[in-house]
């Protein structure tokens, strides 16, 4: 993914101020920053859900704003599940498969349910699911079409320890499979060991873009110092 001079405004208030970012296959980037730094806005622009005021986002050379096929290369896990609570888990995945035109959808849906550990509840309406089950199904939905870029917006929120561990393993597996992962988070420790790169956004600008340091505690001190400035 290539992000070039990306700007986004809410009225006259700038949310992103000339972001440049390149994400390669197999990279897992943690995007950190305080509230209002523009992290979620960056993810929404990258997914083609928000139109930038200026600049472009290209995935595999395709502009996400103008080329619908580019959106098929993206998987998104956002604050919300993107699921229909009146449909069963299986129906939700079937619908996502139909939207993405997945060949052999039934088998893919079965595999996704199996990987998410939801086969036993596949025919239950998702409105009856726990937060952890919803999150697993959300990830299954986001990865059903084998996207090359996975965008995660605070995916650990509300997860208990086993579910968070499962998510970390899933992120590592996605990276190992050659997919790029962008993970927005407030807490670097959540996926520190899985990350390959750290990007810090403050007031809509990239202020740190570096390979993941070995020492989390030292990074955390420097990061807190940066936020205080």
């Amino acid at each position: 993914m290539h992000v070039e001079r990306l700007e986004r405004r809410f009225g006259v208030v700038p949310a992103l101020r000339g972001i440049d970012l390149t994400v390669g296959a197999g990279e897992l980037i943690l995007i950190l920053g305080p509230n209002g730094a523009g992290k979620s806005t960056l993810l929404r622009c990258a997914a083609g859900l928000a139109r930038p005021y200026r600049g472009t986002v290209r995935i595999g050379g395709r502009d996400v704003q103008t080329d619908p096929a580019a959106r098929g290369l993206i998987g998104l896990v956002s604050h919300q599940s993107l699921l229909y609570e009146d449909l069963t888990a299986r129906e939700n995945l079937r619908f996502a498969a139909a939207l993405h035109g997945i060949a052999g959808a039934e088998q893919r849906v079965r595999d996704a349910l199996d990987t998410a550990g939801l086969t036993a509840v596949a025919d239950r309406r998702t409105g009856t699911f726990s937060r952890g089950m919803i999150q697993r199904l959300t990830i299954a939905r986001a990865t059903l079409h084998a996207p090359v870029l996975l965008l995660l917006d605070e995916p650990f929120t509300g997860l208990d320890a086993p579910a968070a561990q499962l998510l970390r393993r899933r992120m590592a597996a996605e990276r190992a499979a050659g997919r790029a992962v962008l993970c927005v988070t407030h807490e670097p420790a959540e996926a520190w060991h899985e990350a390959t790169r750290i990007v810090v956004l403050i007031a809509g600008k990239v202020v740190i873009d570096q390979p993941r340091p070995a020492d989390l505690e030292r990074f955390r001190r420097d990061y807190q110092e940066l936020l205080r400035q």
């Binding site: 993107l82 699921l83 229909y84 139909a98 939207l99």
Partner: protein
């Protein structure tokens, strides 16, 4: 082909969810029945025969029932951010319009199909062959109502007052098809020559065509954040 498949998947999903609940359907039908009853009780029986009111009542009832039905069109996409899931699909956003429109049209036609015989019964309309023509006018009107309604419903869904804004924005756009449909209905029920009502029907068909084309073109912009 992928656009057609996506549109059919969206329509199928909407109708499946509606069939499970039937809340919106039952509400729209009950609402249509109540509007018909209100008109029956609000008229002075000594001065106005139900039959004289019938064409106007039909179109007021169907237009208001459509409004109620369209209110739900995008609300289910707002829950849990499902709209984002649609927007991430690798298909033209115009196909999202066609999917939502197909579901809305099917929904409104079901409401119309239930309200129509009740209108015939309550207002003493002669059950002649001309009723089939009026039913055809209702189908044409439903196409136009839902084309405009789907677009405006998409525009208002991200606002805080979607349920309030939809009728305020939609009703002015419904005035031309209501006028044309009522004009055709009056003349058809009075068994006037085809030349007298065909013009209204052509106007209705033109409205449908124009707004289906406009909505297809505008929908991607409407969906922009």
């Amino acid at each position: 082909m992928s656009a057609v498949r996506a549109a059919l998947a969206i329509a199928g999903k909407d109708l499946r969810i509606e069939w499970r609940h039937r809340t919106a359907l039952v509400s729209a039908v009950v609402f249509a029945v109540l509007v018909l009853l209100v008109f029956i009780f609000a008229r002075d029986p000594g001065t106005l025969a139900p039959r004289d009111l019938a064409p106007s009542v039909l179109w007021v009832t169907l237009a208001l029932a459509t409004l109620l039905a369209l209110n739900r069109a995008f609300l289910l996409e707002r829950e849990h951010g499902a709209l984002d899931g649609l927007l991430l699909a690798p298909v033209s956003r115009a196909s999202l319009f066609w999917g939502k429109w197909l579901a809305n049209l099917a929904f409104v036609l079901v409401v119309d199909a239930i309200a129509f015989p009740l209108w015939v019964m309550f207002f003493g309309v002669d059950p002649t062959a001309a009723l089939w023509l009026v039913a055809g006018v209702a189908v044409l009107a439903a196409i136009g109502f839902t084309a405009v309604g789907t677009t405006i419903s998409a525009m208002t869904v991200r606002t805080r007052f979607a349920e309030l804004l939809l009728p305020v924005l939609l009703l002015p756009f419904l005035l031309p098809p209501i006028t044309a449909a009522a004009g055709a209905t009056v003349r058809i029920l009075e068994h006037r020559p085809a030349g007298e009502w065909l013009g209204w029907i052509k106007l209705l068909a033109l409205y449908d065509l124009v707004f289906l084309v406009l909505a297809t073109g505008l929908f991607p912009r409407v969906m922009d954040e």
